[in-house]
Symmetry: C2
Subunit: 436 residues, 2 copies
Amino acid sequence: MRLSRAFLPTLKETPAEAQIASHRLMLRAGMVRQTSAGIYAWLPAGLRVLQKVGQIVREEQDRAGAQEILMPTIQNADLWRQSGRYEDYGEEMLRIKDRNQREMLFGPTNEEMVTDLFKDYAKSYRDLPRNLYHIQWKFRDERRPRFGVMRGREFLMKDAYSFDVNPEAAQHSYRQMFLAYLRTFARMGLKAIPMRADTGPIGGNLSHEFIILAETGESQVFVSQDLLDLDPLADTPDFAGDLAPHVDRWTQHYAATEEMHDEAAWSALAEGKRVSARGIEVGHIFYFGTKYSASMGLTVQGADGKPITPEMGSYGIGVSRLVGAIIEASHDEAGIIWPDAVAPFAAAILNLKAGDATCDALCEQLYAALGAEAVYDDRDARPGQKFAEADLCGYPWQAIIGPRGAANGRVELKRRATGERLDLSREDAIARIKRA
Amino acid sequence: MRLSRAFLPTLKETPAEAQIASHRLMLRAGMVRQTSAGIYAWLPAGLRVLQKVGQIVREEQDRAGAQEILMPTIQNADLWRQSGRYEDYGEEMLRIKDRNQREMLFGPTNEEMVTDLFKDYAKSYRDLPRNLYHIQWKFRDERRPRFGVMRGREFLMKDAYSFDVNPEAAQHSYRQMFLAYLRTFARMGLKAIPMRADTGPIGGNLSHEFIILAETGESQVFVSQDLLDLDPLADTPDFAGDLAPHVDRWTQHYAATEEMHDEAAWSALAEGKRVSARGIEVGHIFYFGTKYSASMGLTVQGADGKPITPEMGSYGIGVSRLVGAIIEASHDEAGIIWPDAVAPFAAAILNLKAGDATCDALCEQLYAALGAEAVYDDRDARPGQKFAEADLCGYPWQAIIGPRGAANGRVELKRRATGERLDLSREDAIARIKRA
């Protein structure tokens, strides 16, 4: 994208309403604009991050055997009366009447709808297991929307729902999602820690939150250093095989939110292993048995001809929230520091003397080679402004092209995360950016 | 996808509520399920088509110079009061009150919101031109939702909005979209005909509908055979250059809906050139000048320091509607006939004797080679059922593998559109499917 023609409205000043780093930086870097309280429009740079985050989520859901569907945003109130949650949900549910005065709602989650859909389809135990997910906009009418996309009212969530023939099979589905989540967050450059959690209003008896560490985190967490040292990408499990040993590697170490913290177990850890830090929740998985299948009347015929009520779980990732969470975990005074996998653009090409034929030519060559993954700062602006905005927007690489270097065909490559600078030929610079 | 584990609920019987071919076939092929009147969930096969259609739309918008953003579904009523459309829109607008009794609505279109967003950004004539588009779910509370996704209440639309410094520049933006639309529909295997249209409630003075021909079309259209003979993909225009000659090639021939039909001009055509047929609207473009920029208070500073009110246009494609429209244009008695570019899967692998080691092995080899673009019918079912379902679901190729052929390493490849059958080696079959 050429900055002279881009829709990338960066701000010099920090908007007064932004209290946390990600909110401030997303506004300043022109990623989002608020259109109503807790409701945001995603501008080109922000949308590219959102799409990359969503695509990583999708790939890891598919790898774990889940199948993508897309349920609508507007649901019938009657569905929620069947599960008994229509009244329970309270004012966070955006209730709507259509032109015929039918009671509808903007879905905050989809347990009821997916169970109803699946009921239409599944007749036999042979139709199990299935895990269906979708990535769709949800609405929760927060009393105090704040922190930008971290606690918005309209937000993008990936929610998956598993259907199994018995609790053991359901446990396998749960483990598939547990491991898929670890891979998902790791691919985004995040260290996410699974922590036992209360199941809350979704119900059920097994639940983990996935929490990333960030100084600005919303809650206190307690975690063993041994857990932090594990790498989810070190090996890819066979998702059809026995996953218990893989999950046990993670659950054997101490990790707890303040809510679930056990002071005695914590004290038993060697002091050098105790890490107490702030965390941000980015995912949550639940096994809740037959809570929805039973209330919504979902049964299938078992191998013995008798009816079975499928065991279910649900698995959520806050996709739009993740964009903010990544920034909370990765920024400095100058701006955002994007992990390569989710950066809106891999590189900014900074033309320090736009209009100079040599600089222009070298920049155009780089831009042509990098294609859609580059933003080209071709504006007639001061170098200082270009540096500051590239730092603010957090592109992993800055290809800096001034008259002296350009005369020798050299590109100065700056790595945003480390400040490291390389003096490279055009070809080497392109190769280095593409390799990341 | 292995059919034994897929969520692809095909139906033998035609649901009573489905009046038109696309609605019948989308339900029978397990692409969608209605969750409320005019509101649909997209199941895996349907979603894959929706995503491919959306991606083609996206690529052609990008090619023409538009930039993708994503505006929220929920809007403030106040925005619509500024343009004066809040009352005008009538009962089709889904009006909502949030927990604080603020008046909101589920956006049926985005002229107001995008103008307001752009106002925040654009200060100078140098910030023009810009064309911003998004692909987002909309809601129109149709009095009589019907015809499946062709006239649903919640639907996916691509809407683009251009901002220009004067009418000539706006005309250029209009032409960019005109030509992008022709390419978009042609890539989906559709013959779309641009027709002069009334501007209706959006206002303005220049508008074209894009209409595809289908026997089951909703309206009568009149078009010159010379127009039908043009190929939008024959050459790629330079979207930054002069587009008038490209557009003129299309507008010089007669084409009109019943509404705009001119009997005298029609009669002047040679009889062999007159094509009268049924059509379905799949896109609509508008140039409406300063209607929204003026009412919403959008001005930028001109080169002479004086304020300019930007000239605008808007450009819509019904993305979810297109899925139905493609089926209306391409099906037969047995089911859907997908154009290659938008098929949910390129090929179905039909194992005629699941459990036979030779058949299984050959099928697995094909499946491994074709990857996510193949659906593998590995079920223990009769060949007749497998043929019928593959025809119904309309995959462009069927790789038919029975014991006799498998013993010789041969694959029978059937082309869904023509019925043509090829007897090929495994390698040639894979290459043929991938080439399409």
